[in-house]
């Protein structure tokens, strides 16, 4: 089988014979975007579709994420897949707090994004009530392709994020609105 090997696109920069210069920000963004370590926070049905995404047919590893990190300390991306009940809310928040900056969050499925079909007394109506979310993937459950698309959106965000964003005032205000220092 001859397979074309694709290499990540070069960021914009100055090029000449024997050298290439770009800003540090872009180089770091490129490196980060293609080596995201996800922490799957899979609770229910969407978690099964996430399993399929990691499985051999869809293969999340193609995007530089073969290393699934089950420890929040070493994870960059929190993938919340599945219903989060009110009992689970504090746990989710704690996992988020344990992650080191920079950290991203992707909310997979209707339940995680808005409570989904479970508008009930026991289900948290969207994880954005307790933690900030970067990308929402709709669907009940989303197909693995959709999850991959959401993941690629995260890559796009990561690539273009300024190095100073996490120190900026807006970011602190945003975290503050969730009660996170």
């Amino acid at each position: 089988m001859s397979k074309e090997i694709t290499i990540a696109e070069m960021p914009a920069g100055l090029e000449g014979p024997g050298f290439f210069a770009t800003s540090l920000e872009k180089a770091i963004g490129l490196a980060r975007a293609n080596s995201i370590w996800p922490l799957p926070f899979a609770t229910s049905c969407c978690g099964i579709e996430f399993m399929a995404t990691m499985g051999s047919n869809y293969d999340l590893a193609r995007f530089g994420s073969e290393r699934i990190s089950f420890s929040p300390r070493q994870a960059d991306l929190l993938i919340v897949a599945g219903t989060i009940a009110k009992k689970m809310g504090p746990v989710l928040r704690q996992v988020y707090l344990q992650m080191a900056e920079p950290r991203w969050v992707i909310s997979v499925g209707a339940c995680a994004s808005s409570g989904g079909i479970f508008d009930t007394y026991s289900v948290l109506q969207g994880i954005d009530k307790v933690i900030p979310v970067d990308v929402y993937v709709p669907g009940c459950p989303p197909r693995p392709e959709q999850i991959l698309d959401g993941f690629m959106q995260i890559q796009e965000l990561v690539k273009n994020e300024s190095l100073r964003r996490r120190n900026s005032n807006e970011y602190k205000v945003m975290l503050g609105s969730y009660g996170i220092q």
Binding site: T43, S44, C45, G55, T83, A85, K87, S122
Partner: protein, 401 residues
């Protein structure tokens, strides 16, 4: 230095226990459960489970939704084998309103349910493999689980939360593509599955690891309310498909595998064997698939075809009535059980004639047998506790309702 004074020696002689908190997000718990383990070194002395981390109030929702809309809830109970839950619910309502389903629909249901059972058991057994360190099996058979999902997709349009079938039959007939895919699956899967079996079933490393881990006797299993493969692994040949045949299961020739010790190996082997039996059932059902309609004549419950809804006043009215839950249902109470992926999945439906059930209770096999977990892991190693849990196939969605 009084490091070895009397007091500290006394302390050493007393067993020192560590408390270990496993979950609720630990990956090895395969779901959202918390286990607080009391450990003596590597040995589990005691355990206490906390559940309810994804409690979604199914029973309360069911009291507010028309019968037709409850199918979507049943999808999300045991999401590894949604079609079985869907059909179980449909059969419960059919029992309440008293309709007979044409043979073709029954056979189609059997085919779908057995495919779902294969998918369910594959996940469970592959994960048992992963927990003993054999990731290969997992990546290998998951490709074949995808094939089952492809078939579901052909039949109903969805992969996981299938919402398959209708009250009164199937939504549509199998199309040619679906039949082709099922036949391909029947042709190719046994070979793949044999490879998976040879990888694990008699593999010395695996066998040494799983024999005698997490055993339970038949008597204890019964008193703990075990059903399904876990009960059969303990040596009780109880299977709802045989004892109360539904959906023409009595037409098929298959055997019920049973184990002896009720340990992880037996649970694994019972599931392996059940996959083979399911293949046998699907094959028989495909070979003898009767012709005829795939739905019963119940216009109050079975949605009219979409083309008619768009072009025909009558059909539109029926469609509207069914979707809004305006069909008349009799008063009464029924209990219907099907053999789900994990055991007897029962629906207790109490109807007061209203648009929604007055009370709908799901008998969720996981919820009941997970109680026995501390007893099963006591005295074993921590790693065996993990293995026991994955071989019991506890599904959080089903457990927490």
């Amino acid at each position: 230095m009084n490091e070895f004074d009397d007091k500290s020696i006394e302390q050493i002689e007393e067993p020192e226990y560590t408390t270990l908190n496993l979950g609720p997000t630990h990956p090895a718990t395969h779901g959202i459960f918390q286990n607080i383990l009391k450990m003596d070194g590597e040995i589990v002395v005691d355990a206490e489970q906390t559940v309810g981390y994804i409690h979604r109030a199914f029973e309360k929702i069911a009291e507010r939704r028309p019968y037709y809309q409850i199918t979507t809830l049943t999808d999300r109970l045991n999401y590894c084998s949604s079609p079985i839950n869907n059909m179980g619910w449909h059969m419960t309502v059919e029992k309440l309103i008293g309709v007979d389903i044409p043979k073709r629909a029954q056979y189609m249901r059997v085919i779908i349910m057995e495919l779902a059972r294969i998918a369910d058991h594959l996940v469970c057994n592959a994960v048992v493999g992963v927990d003993t360190g054999a990731l290969t099996g997992f990546t290998y058979v998951f490709q074949w689980r995808e094939k089952i999902y492809d078939i579901f997709e052909q039949v109903c349009g969805a992969r996981l939360t299938t919402n398959i079938g209708r009250i009164g039959g199937m939504e549509r007939d199998f199309n040619d593509e679906a039949i082709k895919k099922i036949k391909e699956f029947l042709r190719d899967f046994p070979k793949i599955f044999d490879e998976f079996s040879t990888l694990l079933e008699r593999n010395r490393i695996f066998v040494d690891r799983v024999i005698n881990t997490g055993p339970i006797t038949a008597e204890r299993a019964l008193s703990y309310g075990f059903t399904g493969p876990n009960l059969r692994a303990a040596g009780v040949d109880y299977d709802v498909r045989v004892i109360n045949p539904y959906s023409s299961y009595d037409d098929f020739d298959f055997t019920i595998p049973v184990g002896v010790n009720g340990d992880t190996y037996d649970r694994f082997m019972v599931r392996q064997q059940e996959i083979r039996e399911s293949l046998k059932i699907i094959k028989q059902a495909m070979d003898n698939l009767p012709s005829g309609n795939w739905y019963a004549d119940v216009p109050e419950f079975y949605l009219p075809p979409k083309e008619d809804v768009y072009h025909n006043m009558e059909a539109l009215i029926w469609h509207f009535k069914i979707v809004m839950g305006e069909s008349d249902v009799p008063k009464g109470e029924v209990y219907h059980a099907v053999e789900g992926g994990n055991g007897e999945l029962g629906f207790y439906l109490l109807s007061d004639g209203g648009r929604a059930p007055y009370k709908l209770h799901f008998r969720r096999p996981c919820f009941i047998y997970y109680q026995a977990y501390p007893e099963m892991i006591k005295g074993g190693m921590l790693s065996d506790a993990i293995l026991t849990m994955s071989s019991m196939n506890v599904i959080a969605g089903e457990l927490d309702a």
